[in-house]
Symmetry: D2
Subunit: 351 residues, 4 copies
């Protein structure tokens, strides 16, 4: 039994980034079927921001260790664990209990750093099924970018009606899910359309393989433009991150039989609070009229994460890393996440 | 070349049931790949009502022969037709050009009695792929009830994520699609929940096999009741016919991974006119929060119609026929459709 | 820490039923994430027979506790287990590590009583994900019949291309998988065809809902008969338990796009030994010629087991139990399994 | 009514390439729902060879015009045709009646140049649904290569369990289907393995994007090699063109849950004649043991052809054309098809 301690950030309250507190907690040994992982890198998502400021619209403990996306090295292996050995490079699965198949409400309660405790610290004990192997070509920093955003994009594109090469995928913006969606769709032979308010971000999207780009500042009716690009047919998959206020345009841009993947709500960031009474378009009639599918996408399973990593490895896809912060500068990483007009992931390197 | 004529109803204008006019039109012979069918029975749908009063929210000719759902006998066979012979009993496929696979916007323009001309008359010339064989156990009147409403229910339950026995299906009300949905789901081993404002209609639903019934007059929060019936899990398929004003409850009743099938809009019957600015719940966030699917369902293909008839035949499912009208009393059939608090289909027998 | 012991059967060698030995083993407490289950009933499968005589063609320990299909009561709950409590009635999942999604070779090594140790004793310690809840209407004896045979049938009918009501399912014989397949297919609205060499067994199949029966002693060409029943179209699903020597007939009976589910090999019971050089029909050409699918089916996942139990509960399907033996008469149960011309499952009641 | 004639090759008998005869036939006008197409290019398949020599193992007329794969220009449009206009560049769909969805036996009888009459001549009258639009970037010669071989590969990879990026596809040899399969799988982000007896052909496969190549002359146990490449897991999709004599190796190389696509039988080219009694491996047990799927693939539907062309267009995939022959040298084209050790398609340019 170890008497060591390790450093960990936590949020004793969810009232803003000032709540982020460094603490020392005892280091335990892994039990039956568990592994102890030395965390090497953690990446941040928009979810980490709204969690810290208290508008995250899903259940979870009041006092929480944040951090869903982490990569590290197996340092100790519990009894009954045969698939891992000390030294293995591993990546956390966002929804720890979602091994494969359908997500249940109960599984959803095992989402790291929100519904359950997170891993933003030097160590974390996982069940043996809570991690997957990191492909050799990826660094810890790179791998740490993938669990939430990339897997959400993968689940959108392959979780219900699999994307086929030659289909058209529209990505709203250049945030985490959209950028990973672009990289996956490009690798998979799709035609891609990216929207943004910034020509600079669109230029970067082009470098990642975007077939078409639309600046919605100069071309506000991006739905009509997307339909024109597809000769009036519409797009097959839309990564819908805007939510309430972009949904009408998504319905206007979607093809018959297409899928609108509801993965974000950045136009209604506080849907249980300030935005509670915000109304949307008549989605029932629009779904009928456009003969399409609106689907909520909640990250994905361990099996899907492994499938996605096989895709990443096949084409050596690397996440776009915006900036890497030292562990002690975690608060600055949050500020950068929130204030910046960055593209790409923000990573915290854990010593 | 025949010089005969035949009788047919049409709507020279869409300004109400008074526009329904009987006319004589020339009887033609079927061309290459066509068949001439002597219509024996036509059934009516809610769609026929809103079409006649001018609020049908989809494109189509200004002057139109109504009638999408018809059954009859092959009377003459055109050149190059090998699959049909004189005397065959056949049923129209609602979307004439939708043979199998995905529906396109262009195929949608071939929907009988709305987007294209209908068959409410003594004869109709179909392409050889526009009809299917009627199972022996069904009369013409019974068969004529199936093309629109039953196929829509079938497409909901089997078109995207197939219903499995043991799953829970909720049917909103006891209209055409809901009743066929109940009969199909019951035959398929599902648990069924029917909602209605009438205990009498719920009693009839019980006779058709409903596992659970909810009177939403005495139990307005039917979503909570449906969740309770399923031990808090929610239902797997909802036949959503209400639209805008019932959608929030459907989201409240749906299970994780469940499907809300948007097939009607009776709470917003004029979505391009009076109800144009009606707003709905925040469907993008709700789809995400409940991890579910909202899907527009537009009838179905000829292949699906054949699959559905195989199901009907296997269990000798018979449609609930409310009343059969004589051809000359077609106007009364429309009035009955519109005014009545009936359950079951209204059929017009063609002489 | 307990110092108690409990009784358990094992096979120190696999050289026939004489090897079945009763022994006392120490009773342990469940560890982290585990539950201790008091076994109440175990059912036998053909697999148990060939395992004991040494021709089971899959890997596993030389000395093995048999028994894959068991039901019992949770007696003690390990740390970290929240989904189970003492007194819960639970059913083992055949492939312990197959939670959901795709089966891997490694998961296959966790099959109880063969690839890994089994549960034919008074107690068994499961991981918390190794069991599912038994529906209230089933006894322990009944529930114990389901894990291997019923789940295999369910996986066949719903694991790749889901059975639709109205489709035609052919069951080879009246063994465990075939009988469960019949009950499921009947509940699901399918047309069913059962083959057997015994009119008595076919009479029982009729009572379970078989639409058509074929005695292949009096009608050896059952494939032609099955095609005739389906008006020449062929059947959609075949539960293929015979293997090498029935495969040609299965190809002859299958419909275009149909599925032949390879789940047994009773005509080649020792495929790695005596039957190693047995050749079969030209399956590659036959699959092409009949435009069909031959699919190996290996039981199923925990998620599928739960789906199946929901189906069983919806229609209160009860397994056909042939005979229940006392625990001390386990050897007789094996003899009955092997010698008898029984229909239905053989169950061992554990005291 | 036209009194013109046009040139066409036909096979009054199927006794070898010497039977190929040029004849003049009357040129007709298209009827209701038909289009007259000026054929510009026809490509040949192995099927054309075995058809001419009389071992094609499927039904069809004794005297037949060969040619399934043709591209041309719409020259005249029949009554009732709205989707085509004079001058449109169109490509024939191999199975004329297979519009979408499932293939039936009856649809199979409409396969051009075999089960029904073919298009190896200057003109052909199609039903309006018998062709699809050619993407602008493809020449007639290039387009003519696609209907049979490329669509078969597409149907294999996307027709039952869609290929995902990152999965592993093994292509047997470098024939038509295999090469198109390689190009599609490469565009779709898959890992590809190509087998051949020729280092030169493997070098060309590498240029088309093959990730791994295996010369089965120097490495006869290609199945073991393929498993090694995949770290023992096996491959996800195998394009199985060999048939009887390569099937055991395909089972040895396949991954759990993988698909063996039975699309050819070149090791048993006369399965109804000389090779009638050829026996294969015990496919039922192998499918079970390797937990995999053997699926017959018969070209594909018009909907699939359109999906495939969207994929080709998205990445501007061009078929590998080996040699283009003038119409009058059609006999030489057949000889080249049969004798040569070529890679790539053989095309006949029609004047």
């Amino acid at each position: 039994m170890s008497h060591q301690t390790f450093k960990q950030f936590w949020l004793p309250q969810k009232k803003g980034f000032d709540c982020l507190t460094l603490r020392e907690v005892p280091k335990e040994s892994p039990g039956l079927g568990q592994i102890l992982v030395r965390i090497k890198a953690v990446s941040l998502n928009w979810r980490d921001g709204i969690l810290a400021i208290g508008t995250y619209p899903f259940p979870g403990p009041d006092a929480v260790v944040p951090g869903s996306d982490g990569a590290g090295i197996v340092e100790e292996v519990g009894q009954g664990v045969t698939e891992w050995k000390v030294g293995d490079r591993v990546l956390a699965n966002f929804t720890q209990e979602h091994i494969a198949g359908r997500l249940s409400y109960e599984m959803g309660l095992s989402q790291l750093g929100g519904e359950s405790q997170g891993l933003l610290g030097e160590y974390f004990i996982f069940p043996r099924t809570g991690v997957v192997k990191i492909p050799d070509y990826l660094t810890f920093e790179e791998a740490s970018c993938l669990p939430c955003a990339a897997l959400t994009a993968w689940n959108a594109l392959y979780g219900l009606v699999p994307l086929k090469p030659g289909q058209v995928v529209l990505l709203q913006g250049t945030g985490g899910v959209a950028t990973f969606g672009l990289q996956i769709a490009h690798a998979a032979g799709a035609v891609t359309i990216v929207t943004s308010s910034s020509d600079d971000k669109l230029r970067k999207a082009k470098e990642l393989g975007a077939t078409h780009v639309i600046n919605y500042r100069t071309c506000p009716d991006w739905a009509t433009e997307a339909k024109a690009i597809t000769n009036g047919r519409g797009v097959d998959h839309i990564i819908e991150v805007g939510g309430t206020l972009t949904l009408q345009a998504s319905f206007d841009a979607i093809a018959f039989n297409g899928l609108i993947h509801a993965i974000g709500h950045i136009t209604n960031p506080d849907p249980l609070g300030a935005g509670k009474d915000l109304r949307g378009p008549d989605a029932a009639f629009l779904a009928l009229d456009r003969h399409c599918i609106l689907r909520g996408v909640v990250v994905g399973s361990r099996e899907q994460l492994q499938d996605m990593l096989a895709c990443f490895e096949a084409r050596e896809i690397r996440p776009v890393v915006n900036k890497v912060f030292a562990f002690e500068n975690t608060r600055e990483a949050y500020d950068h996440l929130w204030s910046s007009t960055h593209t790409g992931k923000i990573v915290i390197r854990v010593p």
